[in-house]
Structures are given as structure tokens and as C-alpha cells.
Amino acid sequence: MKPQCSLPAAATRQRSRSLVPWRRGFATNPLGLVARYCVARRRHSDGYDSSSRLVSRPHPFAPSLRNLCATVLVMCRLLLSSLCLALGACAGNGDDLDQNGRPISEGGTPDGELTASFQSIQDNVFTPICTQCHAGASAPQGLDLQQGSSYDMIVNVVSQEQPTLARIAPGDPDASYLIQKIAGAAGISGARMPYGCPTSQPCLDAATIDVIRQWVSNGALND
């Protein structure tokens, strides 16, 4: 069904003053709302401009494959160049930084392998992956996983989502809510971590989860 916009010309011409629909005047002129739809519809499909006067030339963005491709290219260029050249906002080349983007002089581990020690988990999982969100005072569920605060935030600290569980229960990975969250266990509240996985980023792989489990089984030491 094609929506019809058969309105009296006067109603179509009516320009709304207020930007809130219920104050647009359709309490007094109920056609106001319909007029708004029609004007907007025409503007995009039939080559009318926003004041609903007929534009004599063909609509410059009439859909055709050539137009589409050309416009996409122009838009991409525009977006990229405005970001990269005009604003100087290109991606960094990583000189003198470790894998987490911190200066090597700070003593990070540039290319450390993941082992069942806390510092290794921090450098290879928490810092690069979890602190995208779990950082600072306003971190989700108050869980700050940044270097320096993370240990005290998780070991023997009750979970906000499931207060019957500790985030990390030393010696008991199955009863550790953090482990359940990264493994996507059946009973968790909310999403599997890292949030949005596997769509917006990969989930942690089984090998990584096993190493973290091993660290918990070993007593979750601050090593």
C-alpha cells in the first residue's frame, strides 16, 4: 500500500513552528501531523524541497547505482580526510609502545605470553580487552579492571549482578562469577564478556579461559 498524501494545499504548506509534535499545532489543526509526513516524504522521494515547493530540476540524489557508488566514495573520502588530514587524527604507528599502547618505559610487557599469573592476565586480557569498558570510576557494575585496581576489585569481592557469588573465589573457578561471565555460562545475568562478543569483538577463546581458570584454581594469587 502506498501511503497517500492527498491533503489540501494549504495544509501541506503549513510550516510548523514548534519542534515538538504535540505543540506543532495539530491539536488545533489535526492535519498538521499528516502534513508533516507528506512534506517529509516528498522531500526524499519526489524531488520536492523541504518547503514543499516543486523543484523543477530532477532530484540530484535520484537513486541509481552510479549515484550511489559515487556518493559513497565521496562521503568516505570526506569522512576520512576530515578526520585524518584536517584534524590530524590518524591512527598511531605504535612507536615505543607496548601491545597495550603504553610507553615501554613504563615497564609493561611488550609481547608477553599468557600464563596463569595475575600480572600476565592483566597484561594480556584485562588491560587490552576488558578496560575498553571496565575502566575508572564509572566502570560497569563498579568493576574497574585497570592495572593497579583490578585485583582488589575481583578477588573475594561479591558480584553486583549475582551477590551470592564472588567475582573470583580463590580455588573455585566454577563458583567465580567472572569466570562464568567470560565463559558465557548458562546462569549469568546480562551478557557474556567481553560485552558484545562475538559481534563487536571476539569472545575469549577456550585456551585463554583455561589459563584464567588455572590461575583461580591455583588460589588466585596476586603474582
Binding site: P3, Q4, L19, V72, C76, S82, L83, G136, G142, I188
Partner: protein, 369 residues
């Protein structure tokens, strides 16, 4: 009440008695570009005056008539407005994804996943004045509450107060929580907080001020509170706004501020946001810059092509650590209640971090009502 089945104008007219007099009362997640395209305020289409979540009846009608490529005849029943009775309205949002992520030096990961199923409910206790509202994430995982608040409007329907668990008013309320601006500021659809919000919805000026625990939705763990404010000046084809956020937390203060804008240039609608973040929870204090530029091109009825470029400088004192993200997403609303999204994102960061250089391809089926 009967709606003539084939004529939009008259079914809208039949709906007008419903629409007239609604002040605020359902797309589940916000799409600020639509507001910018139409020259409307968030409150026009969302129950939440600061945007996002359940749509208003106007928002429902808009989505079923204006956003779709083909509007299927709904027969006698007329358009869906979420209204179960005079008091109760419901809405929802289901997103199902097939995705593939290509991260350097890692096996490609791909799969199907239910990204989210949210249900919204609003009880209009006093028409136009007092509403109880809840946003519940039913899946994945077991159910978890996202928003739950009471909303009271003053008589003129310009000022309101909201109390409960709420999303904080800051910047562009983008649907994509993983966008750099939403992730770095930590204010997005995954991070509600408990508190109070005061708001003003004028003809051109809108503003919100929220005071909350500042504990990321968790239990209050210190005496400091979080204050978040946003103002915007909204015109038919452009809008300009500014936001500020201050969280006085025991582990260190967080201060952030930013500006955002929208511009409608015919079939292309532009959005932009830039923020400066000072995170004192780390020593030395971390100063971050983050920005977004987004173009939305309605190239055919029911279609939208969203292109965005983002920039994130995670520590201004450190050189060469900046990141970019480019996204191209084709959104298609074939008929009412259904949207398909096909998207590609390219992350560009320091070469030694694989995750910062991943590529994602996704197809999403989005059901909305």
C-alpha cells in the same frame, strides 16, 4: 474502533484522537540521526525525553509509516501503538546477528548470536503527567534490568523529573554502544546508573541534569556523587549541544565534556561529537580525546546508508597510540517492525595490538515494536 485499511491519511486521522494529547509517553534504541533528519526532539519519538528506549505513539506511527520501504496493510487493526489499554503500553527490540571478526594473528571468529532482546513497559498512571517505565534486557543471559524509573511532567509539559535507574544524559545517544564516543565516555545503553534527572523540553532548547551514584549501575560504594548535564539547541535542519559529566569517586575523579551537532542536508544527515575526558583514577592522570563524524544517507525510501569515522586518543601524553574506526552500515526497513542491517567495521590502531586492528562484518535482523 475501526481503521479503514487502505488509506494512511484516514488511518492517521483515526489515530489523531490518540495522538492529540499525548505528551510523552515507545525503536528501542535511539537513532539520533532520525531526530536530526526530521528536525524533531528525542522526546517526540521516545518516552524517555532524553531519548532512546520505548517509543511514543508518535514514534510508533512514524516508524511504521515513514521508515519503511513498503507499508503492509494492517487491515482492521490499524497501526500498532503499543497501547494495551489506557494505562499500559509495551514495546520491544530484538537483535539477532550473524557476524565474522577477522583479527590479525588469530583464527577468524564467526557465529550467530542473539545480541539482545529488550522489552519495554510504561504505565501511564496519570495521563500526560505520571509514568512508570521499565527497560528489561531479557536475553542473552538471564533477565537484567536496564532502566526503571518514575517520570513526572509539570503541567506545561516542558519540565520533568525522573527518578530511578536511568541512562545518563550525555552527548549523542547513539544506538551503537561500541562507538568510541560512547565507549570511552562510558555513557551508553549498557551503563545505567541510579539517580535523579531534571529536564527541560522547550520549543528549541532542551536540557537535562542528572545526579547519580556514579557507581556504574552497581551499588553505591563511596560518598561522592556523579553529575551529568546536557543542553542542546534544536532547529529544523541543525542542532548543537554540549554535555558535561563529573564523577567524584573514591578511586579517582572522572571529568568529561563534549560538544555534539546534527545537520540535515537533504538526503544526507550528519552527526558529530567530540569529547575530552580526564580520568584521575589512574596515575598519571589520563587525558583522552574522542570524536565521531557520521553521515546517514536516505538513498531510497526505507533505506539508510550509515557511514562513520571515529577517532580515539586514549592518552594524550603518549604519542602514536591513537585509534580510528570506520564503519559502513546499510540499514533496510522492508516492512513495518523489521529492519535488516549489514555492516562492515574496520578498526585501525597500533600495529602491536591485534584487537585494535580487527575487521568485522555483520548481518543483523532487528525486530522492533
Amino acid at each position: 474502533m475501526k481503521y479503514p485499511p487502505t488509506n494512511l491519511t484516514s488511518s492517521l486521522r483515526m489515530l489523531l484522537p490518540l495522538l492529540i494529547g499525548i505528551a510523552v509517553h515507545t525503536q528501542a534504541r535511539a537513532e539520533p540521526y532520525l531526530a536530526a533528519r526530521e528536525g524533531l526532539q528525542c522526546a517526540a519519538c521516545h518516552v524517555n525525553p532524553s531519548g532512546g528506549g520505548m517509543r511514543t505513539e508518535f514514534g510508533d506511527v512514524y516508524a511504521q509509516t515513514r521508515l519503511v520501504a513498503k507499508q503492509l496493510d494492517m487491515g482492521e487493526r490499524g497501526l500498532w501503538t503499543g497501547k494495551l489499554n489506557d494505562f499500559l503500553r509495551v514495546g520491544g527490540d530484538l537483535r539477532y546477528d550473524a557476524s565474522a571478526t577477522d583479527t590479525p594473528h588469530q583464527k577468524r571468529s564467526d557465529g550467530f548470536a542473539l545480541q539482545e532482546f529488550r522489552a519495554y513497559g510504561a504505565v501511564d498512571l496519570i495521563d500526560r503527567r505520571l509514568t512508570l517505565y521499565a527497560d528489561q534486557l531479557l536475553a542473552p543471559g538471564s533477565s537484567i534490568n536496564r532502566e526503571a524509573y518514575g517520570l513526572f511532567w509539570w503541567d506545561e509539559h516542558q519540565a520533568y523529573v525522573k527518578a530511578g535507574k536511568l541512562y545518563l544524559p550525555y552527548g549523542l545517544r547513539l544506538q551503537d554502544d561500541s562507538s568510541f564516543v560512547r565507549q570511552a565516555t562510558g555513557i551508553n545503553f549498557t551503563t545505567p546508573d541510579n539517580g535523579l534527572e531534571l529536564g527541560w523540553v522547550g520549543s528549541s532548547w532542551i536540557g537535562q541534569l542528572a545526579v547519580s551514584n556514579g557507581a556504574g549501575g552497581g551499588e553505591e560504594n563511596d560518598r561522592g556523587k556523579r553529575a551529568t548535564a546536557s543542553v542542546a539547541y534544536v532547529q529544523h535542519i541543525w542542532r548543537l549541544g554540549a554535555s558535561a559529566d563529573y564523577n567524584d569517586a573514591a578511586i579517582g575523579k572522572l571529568e568529561q565534556g563534549g560538544i555534539f551537532a546534527g545537520l540535515d542536508t537533504g538526503p544526507i544527515t550528519w552527526l558529530a561529537e567530540a569529547d575530552y575526558i580526564v580520568d584521575k583514577s589512574l596515575t598519571p592522570t589520563r587525558k583522552q580525546y574522542v570524536g565521531l563524524l557520521e553521515a546517514n544517507w536516505a538513498f531510497m525510501q526505507g533505506h539508510n546508508l550509515k557511514l562513520s569515522a571515529e577517532y580515539f586518543d586514549p592518552d594524550h601524553q603518549v604519542d602514536e597510540d591513537q585509534r580510528n574506526r570506520l564503519s559502513a552500515i546499510w540499514e533496510f526497513n522492508p516492512i513495518q517492525f523489521i529492519q535488516t542491517r549489514v555492516g562492515f567495521r574496520r578498526y585501525d590502531g597500533i600495529p602491536q595490538n591485534d584487537l585494535q586492528n580487527r575487521k568485522e562484518l555483520f548481518v543483523e535482523l532487528h525486530g522492533l515494536f
